[in-house]
């Protein structure tokens, strides 16, 4: 299915970014948890103007630690870091190799194009999975420490992280597709980055005004409402299945596209 030597080499190349992003996100998660005050009196976001809180989706005041983290961490910081990670790594796994020409060496071995693409996709997916596991583990083990004993609802916390992981399975899917079909890094990152930014801005616009609320239908990120998962309003199983199928389809299309296209090597 995949080429192990290539997997190792690509994993090694991704490792620095993976470690860096994981550490920064764990740090942010725990810092945010540290600011949690069970009484709900010192909401750190209360200082922000009402309009801005609405735009960023911070409207529901934090009550539980999960709710607090949903708005304080999963709502913005997490999304931004994960999106950037997906875009950079997807780009360097495919488009950058074609752009620089080093893909020629990989394809001059008996490893087929399909297998090269599947191997590189595996690197991206394993990296996302590592981040998800590290964050979940850090949350479950660390939050009660930094908050001085707040009880984390394990099931809810895992559900939030599962949907978060699957959301970025889809994001990485279109980033990987873009990386597989373009000849230049610049084009690949403009396409996937442009789409991400567009969707993110649509989400913000939809939150800031009820007249623009239809815009949320244009944003993939709208499906990830951690607060609603915490409150039990999201059909987690169904959403997980839809995200998993969408992500898998995007990767399948990437493999097919990469197998069929001309490469300027």
């Amino acid at each position: 299915m995949i080429s192990l030597p290539l997997f190792k080499a690509s994993m090694k190349k991704t490792l620095k970014l993976l470690l860096g992003f994981s550490l920064v996100m764990v740090f942010y998660l725990l810092i945010t948890a540290y600011m949690y005050d069970p009484s709900g009196e010192s909401d750190p976001f209360s200082a922000l103007p009402e309009g801005m809180r609405e735009a960023l989706g911070l409207l529901d005041g934090p009550q539980t630690i999960e709710g607090f983290l949903s708005t304080g961490f999963y709502g913005v910081t997490f999304l931004v870091f994960m999106a950037i990670f997906c875009l950079i790594v997807a780009n360097q796994l495919m488009a950058s190799l074609v752009d620089r020409g080093s893909m020629a060496y990989l394809l001059a071995t008996p490893v087929s194009r399909g297998r090269v693409a599947r191997t590189q996709a595996a690197v991206l997916l394993v990296s996302l999975l590592v981040i998800a596991i590290v964050l979940t583990a850090a949350g479950l083990l660390g939050i009660s420490q930094v908050t001085g004993g707040a009880e984390v609802d394990v099931s809810v916390f895992i559900q939030v992280n599962l949907i978060a992981f699957l959301l970025f399975f889809v994001v990485s899917g279109y980033a990987f597709l873009s990386s597989s079909v373009f000849n230049e890094s610049k084009q690949a990152i403009s396409a996937s980055g442009g789409l991400t930014l567009f969707m993110y801005l649509c989400g913000i616009a939809a939150n800031s005004s009820s007249e623009l609320s239809w815009l949320k239908n244009l944003s993939l990120f709208s499906v990830f409402q951690p607060m609603s998962i915490v409150q039990g309003d999201t059909p987690v199983g169904l959403l997980a299945a839809i995200l998993a199928v969408t992500g898998a389809a995007l990767y399948a299309v990437s493999f097919a596209a990469f197998r069929r296209r001309d490469l300027p090597l």
Binding site: S3, L4, P5, L6, K8, A9, K12, K13, Q92, S96, L97, R100, G101, S102, A104, Y105, L106, L107, A108, T109, P110, V111, S112, R113, R115, R260, D262, L263, P264, L265
Partner: protein
């Protein structure tokens, strides 16, 4: 038949691309693919490697289609790209490990031997490598699995003259071992010492496929001969050689195959200096065609 192009075409817009290329390279033959920059040499090689899908015709290696069966073909092919770009962040030895791993190679004997031969430090990070050094790593990558067929895109570019000769020796050894070699170049000198057959490509079309010896003899050379006296100039003018120009004691003679006549004429003169200017590939090509028409 080892390598076969059957009316291979690829169009990149009007007049650009390669058109109707047909040629065959036998097992054990060394084929030189000659043409000016931009003529379509690399495009042809990209089709052989399965990087591009032909818009018409086909390319095959040992009866396997270069587009649909490219991964199988790579089992017995070694490839040296025209532009050397390794995977970022690896040094030469890690890059060779990666490629060897992807080939499931068990023996590194040939690889060690090649590294000794071309004398370079494989531990140098790729960022710090000179062009020549990258070319050497590329050569090792192409030859290390002892492939039956070698596809080399401008193989000596970037190498110093010493290493160029070493490379030509390597090609001759591999040729003696029965390897099939397809090698592109824009310099005639680079391939005249190694190739049996030469294909000339110009503006995407195959202009000629010739035995190397007939091409060599058709190639004109200009000899700028500095003689010692006016009598010597007269002597040369009467010798029946093709004199292109006379400038004081410098007589420019055009020679095409008839070297004996030149030597005999020169033997009767006092000679101060001889300069040789070779015809460029373009000139040789034009000339080859003019004479082809005349016949």
């Amino acid at each position: 038949m080892s390598i076969k192009l059957n009316r291979l075409s690829k169009s990149f817009g009007p007049g650009k691309g390669i058109f109707d290329l047909s040629l065959e390279v036998r097992e054990g033959e060394v084929f030189g693919y000659l043409g000016p920059n931009g003529a379509g040499k690399s495009t042809t090689i990209r089709h052989l490697m399965g990087f591009m899908k032909p818009s018409g015709g086909s390319a095959s290696i040992r009866r396997l289609d270069c587009w649909s069966q490219s991964a199988e073909i790579q089992q017995f092919v070694g490839y040296l790209p025209g532009e050397i770009a390794f995977v970022e962040g690896l040094n030469g030895s890690e890059m060779l490990d990666l490629l060897g791993g992807m080939r499931k190679m068990r023996s590194t004997a040939k690889r060690k031997q090649l590294i000794d031969r071309f004398q370079f430090d494989v531990k140098t990070p790729i960022k710090k490598m000179s062009k020549g050094m990258k070319q050497k790593v590329g050569i090792v990558a192409a030859f290390m699995h002892d492939p039956d067929i070698l596809i080399l895109d401008e193989p000596t570019s970037g190498l110093d003259p010493l290493m160029q000769s070493e490379f030509i020796r390597l090609i001759l050894e591999e040729k003696a071992r029965g390897k099939t070699i397809f090698m592109s170049s824009h310099l005639f000198e680079e391939i005249e010492r190694t190739c049996d057959t030469v294909g000339i490509i110009k503006d995407g079309r195959l202009a000629a496929i010739e035995n190397i010896h007939s091409l060599q003899s058709s190639r004109q050379k200009m000899f700028a001969i500095t003689v010692k006296s006016q009598d010597d100039v007269l002597q040369l003018q009467q010798s029946g050689l093709r004199i292109i120009a006379v400038q004081e004691f410098i007589v420019t003679v055009e020679v095409q195959g008839n070297y004996e006549a030149l030597v005999q004429a020169l033997a009767r003169c006092g000679i101060a200096n001889i300069d040789i200017r070779q015809q460029s590939l373009e000139e040789m090509f034009m000339d080859y065609y003019d004479r082809g028409m005349a016949k």
